[in-house]
Symmetry: none
Subunit: 132 residues, 4 copies
DNA sequence: GTGGTCTAGACCACC
DNA sequence: GTGGTCTAGACCACA
């Protein structure tokens, strides 16, 4: 489910954190449900277990999951609520960043809208084609 | 002109590179025009000269500027053409990233479009308010 | 393997780059093989790690090696092909420079050929003598 | 007569020094003959006068030319002898460097000889074509 | 342990 | 004054 981009500057553990949050937000992971073990997820993402461990650790610090030694980590009871609050912020943040980036290159609002629409269509077409 | 975000994950030298490219793209910097000296720009951005030097060095390797010892760095003759090519790539990249981020949280195309439009308006209103 | 000439005008990082390229070209380093770590190579060459880091960074930008944080740098999959292209260019460049240098001092083609041959023999004799 | 390569790492003043030496060696400049003024040569080479001044200064230190304030610099009486000694050394040095460069990339003596011959022919053809 | 970024500060080559 | 190279050493991200 989670996809890792190793080429960029965004740390892998941040990408994992965001991935878990998005899965909770989507209902793929539900409160009190067990998360994949650190080893399993690390194997799946082809990533060092320490990296997954760090993502889990920080998610726990932020209250999204709870971990106990020797037992699987659980999605926190109130994680949905927490994430719902974060969700808007996260999305607006990334969209704001994209917009300001485009503006830096001199695009105005309507031009930005056009590109967004064309990229949205572009991606839809691609994902239909792949059929996944 | 260039603003540095020291909080994030994007290296300062990358932000400087992007800043210069956007200024060339906007026509603030024109081909054969002198760039600010490394020391000056470093002072302006409150950053170490080496960091600016790295940005300039990489911009030269990529062909956007030309530097000679003892002389100011110049925007390359063909930089506009080079950057025009990059511009589209850079903008689409950042917009694609924002879109995929939003999709991860379960938003569909029309929802994304709505948020984009609302953020665009939001920013317009703010910049009008500031009047700058 | 790599020898650094600190006396000349050629930057150390350039000498390191050329050294790595020649080792790939010779097959001492093979695609997907790990390069010596920055710190190790720096210690071996008695050079600052930053200098080696710069060489590695530029080699990566040029596509000869690939690096990931926390992992050793690897010789790129397609490095052999890339370097084969560079090899001819590099050698012709240095030979052209030597020839034009000799011509500046009034030597004609056959005189240059003679000197080249005598230097070639000279070196062979020396390397035989050393027996290494 | 002297050609300057601004792209490489070899300092311009070194190229000028070598150029003067080669002209003395070729007899273009003769002992006791006046050298071009710093300003004139600088203008001709499109180079900063300070750079030419440095070349002249070092040539004087090495005994190849003599300068007196307010008067043109002169080729030293014994410059030919001095340069004849240097000439062999300079040429062998640059040829040795080219050879060792080629060897680094795995070429053997006969391969190097072939490249040298082909480059020699290549240059002859080009200079005939240009007719200069 | 690895590589990546940044700072501070030195020295050089050139204008 | 300019940019270029190098060192020394800190801190971070990742394995």
């Amino acid at each position: 489910m989670i996809t890792i981009d190793t080429s960029g500057f965004i740390p892998i553990y941040e990408q994992i954190k965001k991935g878990i949050k998005s899965e909770v937000s989507l209902g793929v992971l539900k409160p009190n449900q067990a998360l994949p073990s650190i080893r399993d997820l690390a194997a799946e993402l082809v990533v060092n277990p320490n990296t997954v461990a760090r993502a889990y650790r920080e998610l726990e610090l932020e209250g999204f999951i709870s971990t106990r030694k020797g037992k699987a980590s659980l999605v926190a009871e109130n994680s949905s609520a927490l994430i719902e609050k974060e969700k808007t912020r996260l999305i607006e943040e990334v969209i704001d960043r994209a917009i300001s980036e485009a503006r830096k290159f001199g695009l105005n609002s309507s031009e930005i809208k056009k590109i967004v629409e064309s990229r949205l269509k572009n991606q839809e077409r691609r994902s239909e084609g792949v059929g996944k």
